[in-house]
């Protein structure tokens, strides 16, 4: 690990409803409309992959492996990760939507086989907004975690991470291997170029049935109902600064 050259980085790479899609709750409250909507990589996972690629380009790591958990058609999504630059992909196949604890247990199984020096994941997926899987994985693996990363530096088997926290920027140092989750300002992911899409076709994707991993995958949480959020109604327009101030004073807000 000290030399770094043998280090492998595992990247969690989830597919979600594209962030530009306006989410509609189904009228019967059984879910949100996902038929025919555009799916994309979770934006925080693209940042995770970009960071892993940069660490490889710096010579800190040798191999970048993207991991996805999902149905058979997840292959196309994983190909995007390969086109972005990952060396290979692992597809854990399941038709179920997995909850964070299950995802963490699955990732731990892969880690036991792959022995990565670092795991980088998005801090949250923009569908369930759970913000849990990286932390849970670090706990189960009994390794350090550094969430909400905006800067990552690796030297001598240790990683120094700057974290965006409510109070400001926290810096911590951890021994490798470790789990890092990414925040928005860590980097700007690269765009996929056409030749890379061609190249990605020959990169390997390992396929593993989730059921074959013997993890406890049962859902502890049941979602019973979906509703649309309450909407704020459109307010009034005022014509100038003095009218605004008098309205606020009337309301007792100033």
């Amino acid at each position: 690990m000290a030399k770094g050259i043998e280090m492998k980085i595992l990247v969690g790479y989830k597919r979600v409803v594209d962030y530009n899609v306006r989410i509609q709750v189904k009228p019967d409250g059984t879910g949100v409309v996902t038929d025919g909507v555009k799916l994309s990589a979770n934006p925080f996972d693209d940042i995770a992959l970009e960071e892993a690629l940069r660490l490889r380009e710096k010579g800190v790591a040798e191999e970048v492996v993207v991991v996805g958990i999902g149905p058979a058609d997840l292959t196309a999504h994983l190909r995007n990760g390969l086109a972005m630059g990952a060396n290979r992909a692992i597809h854990v196949v399941t038709s179920d939507i997995v909850q964070p604890l299950t995802a963490a247990r699955v990732l731990l199984k892969l880690i036991e086989k792959e022995l990565p020096g670092l795991v980088i994941m998005g801090k949250q997926a923009i569908d369930d907004d759970a913000n849990q899987t990286g932390q849970m994985l670090a706990a189960l693996w009994d390794r350090p975690q550094a969430t909400f990363a905006s800067k990552i530096e690796i030297a001598d088997g240790k990683v120094t991470v700057t974290r965006e926290v409510d109070a400001g920027l926290e810096v911590l140092q951890a021994d490798l291997p470790a789990v890092i989750t990414t925040d928005l300002r860590l980097n700007e992911p690269r765009f996929i170029k056409l030749p890379d899409i061609m190249k990605a076709k020959s990169k390997p994707i390992d396929t593993i049935e989730l059921a074959s991993l013997s993890v406890d995958a049962h859902d502890q949480l049941k979602t019973t109902h979906y509703t649309a959020p309450g909407k704020r109604s459109k307010g009034v327009m005022v014509k100038d600064a003095s009218e605004l101030v008098s309205v606020l004073k009337q309301k007792g807000l100033l």
Partner: protein, 314 residues
């Protein structure tokens, strides 16, 4: 009957108001006991503050040198051990709680519920998904410990002068790892009200134009005693530090008055302010989406309007 353990958030020896909001969520469930756990290297002052929160039964403290900084890998094993006597563990859904609660849940082998907005019962909760564009009702398994983070903007601050709960030291006897070390916290120095708990917030966006121009926002905020916030665009552009970001990936806040200046109103920003009492938008673009959610809108040049506002306030 439920027994709830609320994990205290604190910084520099002071209790964070997010703790009293998590207590509010706990009181919404008819609980037999609500206890607060303070993990720190110096617990006394924090525990005394916590003991005053209305509705709590006891404050437990664990004073260890390893608890000097909120490192999840240190705190989570202690929380998991302390959780043995409880049906629920609540943690504020701040960067502190989001970091530590899932780690504690995984050590307990249980799922975690993120961003609880309301409690429909002891094991049924509502929480937002898709940046708040859908709200789900989640049922937790009653045979498991419920570990949840509490969406602070959805809950009032429990009164903090109405109680004198007993304080007891707890010996958890947990071995802690040495693999993670705190280096430093870079914290902006400010005498302004705290963004997360302020009753008034003035935020600036890309329309402010530069770090230098942001002075006009600070000055106006000081004039009305408000905290200062910013949109992601303003933080990305380097006008202000990250801790001022309001929105889905920044702070989710619920002030009585929110004034958005030069902020167009991306959905991710609106997610952070939709619990505000009154939203005022000032923007030169009359078509900006922020006007769709604002209670009061004013179209115009912020550099002309802010001095006029200051004058009108007197």
């Amino acid at each position: 009957m439920s027994k709830i353990l609320v994990i205290a958030e604190h910084l520099n020896g002071k209790l964070n108001p997010s703790t009293a909001r998590a207590v509010s969520a706990a009181t919404a469930i008819k609980a037999e006991t609500i206890d607060v756990l303070v993990l720190s290297d110096k617990v006394d002052a924090i525990a005394k503050e916590a003991a005053k929160i209305q509705g709590i039964s006891r404050v437990f403290t664990v004073e260890r040198a390893e608890n000097a900084h909120p490192l999840a890998s240190m705190l989570a094993p202690q929380i998991a051990k302390a959780a043995a006597n409880y049906s629920h563990v609540f943690v504020p859904s701040t960067t502190f709680g989001k970091d530590v609660a899932p780690r504690a849940a995984a050590l307990l082998g249980v799922a975690q519920i993120s961003d609880v907005m309301s409690a429909e019962g002891s094991h049924t909760f509502k929480r937002p998904i898709y940046a708040g564009n859908a709200i789900i009702t989640v049922e937790a398994d009653p045979s498991q410990t419920v570990v949840a983070t509490i969406r602070t903007a959805s809950w009032p601050t429990a009164a903090d002068n109405a109680n004198s709960a007993p304080i007891e030291a707890l010996d958890l006897d947990v071995a802690l790892p040495t693999h993670t070390r705190f280096v430093e916290l870079k914290q902006g120095k400010s005498d302004r009200p705290d963004l997360q708990s302020a009753s008034r917030v003035v935020s600036g966006g890309r329309g402010v134009g530069s770090k230098e121009n942001f002075e006009i926002i600070y000055k106006f905020a000081d004039k009305i005693g408000a905290a200062v916030g910013a949109s992601r665009a303003a933080v990305d552009a380097g006008y202000v530090p990250n801790e001022l970001q309001v929105g889905q990936t920044g702070k989710i806040i619920a002030p009585e008055l929110y004034i958005a200046i030069g902020i167009s109103g991306a959905i991710q920003h609106l997610t952070g302010i939709k619990d505000a009492g009154t939203i005022v938008a000032i923007n030169k673009d009359a078509e900006a989406p922020i006007f769709e959610v604002a209670d009061i809108g004013l179209v115009g040049d912020l550099f002309k309007l802010i001095p006029e506002l200051e004058q009108a306030i007197g």
